[in-house]
């Protein structure tokens, strides 16, 4: 299942509100759990606490009907994330009794072995499942995650590349590959992955910001100029509100000025830099006025350098 773009600002606010409300016993636990599932955020502790409170209450459990099993799965994964292996084992046991021959439950059992640290056994379990279901995406991804967890990043990259040859449209996998490449300092390959992501989802500003970050890190006049373009594009997509993109524009302009000191200055629009600096100071004045002096100092030094 390919994930869609993540949470918008209103959805993130709604999530925070529901979490607050449910934490103080004000109900809304089931809505919170559904929202977490829909937005695909990682909140193991609240999910575990609220999910268990729903599952231990037999009245609430019977009200859920057939969604009860999805909740068991969600709580099992949250328990594994919190290293609460007993709860996870119990949930998976209940699911196994209800769905004895299910691939989904088999995957959960494999994840439980992973969480316990029993890598060889997990490997064997996944191999067995893959024999019967060779085209299951999530099984391949768990193998990659296991290689990553054991610290074997080159193997993970290998597996990921093989996976992406078959399932080329999987954005999550491209993102994962880009992040692994960045951690291995292989920036050219990471840039390639981000380019694929931008082609696939051109309206998501965050991919463009990450791509511009990688380009800026690689350095060199052309890369920094392209990075500045992508930061500006990200600013356009977010309505000028993304602080990281604003910083990106300022820093890129500063670097370009520095790099082109010896040569003749091409009259690029210095309007962009001035505007970005202005919006940055305004945002800081609004949200974190205590840090404003640091920002103004930094911008002043960049304009002079």
């Amino acid at each position: 299942m390919v994930g869609l773009g993540g949470a918008s600002a209103s959805e993130a606010a709604q999530l925070a509100r529901l979490e607050e409300q449910a934490a103080h016993g004000g109900g809304g636990a089931w809505e919170y759990l559904c929202l977490v599932r829909r937005l695909k955020v990682r909140r193991p502790e609240p999910v575990l606490r609220l999910g268990l409170s729903l599952l231990n209450d037999s009245k609430a459990r019977s009200k859920l009907g057939s969604e009860e099993w999805t909740l068991y799965e969600q709580v099992a994964i949250a328990a594994m994330d919190c290293q609460n292996i007993d709860v996870a084992k119990d949930c998976i046991g209940i699911l196994k009794k209800k769905f004895p021959d299910s691939l989904r439950v088999g995957r959960l059992e494999g994840m439980l072995l992973e969480a316990k640290g029993a890598w060889a056994e997990a490997e064997r379990a996944y191999a067995v499942l893959l024999e019967n279901n060779p085209n299951d995406q999530l099984l391949h991804k768990r193998k990659i995650a296991m290689a990553k967890a054991q610290g074997n990043t080159t193997l993970a990259v290998d597996y990921l590349n093989k996976y992406l040859e078959i399932f080329m449209a999987d954005h999550d996998a491209w993102r994962e590959l880009a992040e692994i490449y960045v951690s291995l300092l292989m920036y050219k390959q990471a840039a390639f992955c981000y380019e694929e992501l931008i082609l696939a989802q051109p309206m998501v500003a965050l991919y463009q910001i990450s791509y511009a970050d990688v380009l800026y890190t690689m350095g060199g006049m052309e890369n920094i100029q392209t990075a500045k373009k992508y930061y500006s594009s990200a600013l356009q997509l977010t309505g000028g509100k993304n602080t990281r993109a604003l910083y990106g524009v300022c820093l890129c302009s500063g670097s370009i000025n520095q790099l082109s000191k010896g040569r003749n200055k091409e009259e690029e629009s210095s309007e962009l830099q001035a505007l970005a600096a202005e919006v940055l100071t305004k945002e800081y004045k609004r949200q974190a006025p205590a840090k404003l002096p640091i920002v103004t100092e930094m911008l002043k030094t960049m304009k002079l350098s």
């Binding site: 937005l39 695909k40 599952l55 231990n56 919190c82 290293q83 609460n84 990659i144 500003a205």
Partner: protein, 106 residues
């Protein structure tokens, strides 16, 4: 919401009544062997009234409409999903004390 429903039901009823009147009118015309040029004036008024009421109810009864513009403030993506398919469990959270009270009652 209740008012919207009632208005919608009234509008629907008006339209149904207009349809019934038109059928009755055509029946009368058949008896008098004249051509059917169009429904009578009051039926047209009734139709327009029913249309207006149904339109109003259709917009008022559903809850807040979702925004479809990609550039509107509500639709801007602020954070990406956490890539849960590649989630690993041997992170630094392992050393945090787990709450022993959390147990599943079978």
């Amino acid at each position: 919401m209740g008012l919207g429903f009632v208005v919608g039901i009234i509008g629907g009823f008006l339209i149904a009544h207009a349809a019934f009147s038109t059928i009755q009118y055509r029946g009368e015309l058949k008896i008098m062997e004249e051509q059917f040029t169009g429904p009578p004036f009051n039926v047209v008024i009734e139709l327009l009234g029913g249309l207006g009421l149904c339109l109003w109810a259709g917009l008022a009864v559903p809850t807040k409409f979702l925004s479809i513009l990609p550039h509107s403030d509500e639709n801007r993506v602020v954070s990406l999903p956490a890539n849960l398919d590649f989630m690993v469990f041997n992170h630094r959270g392992k050393v945090l004390p787990s709450n022993p009270d959390l147990k599943l009652k079978i």
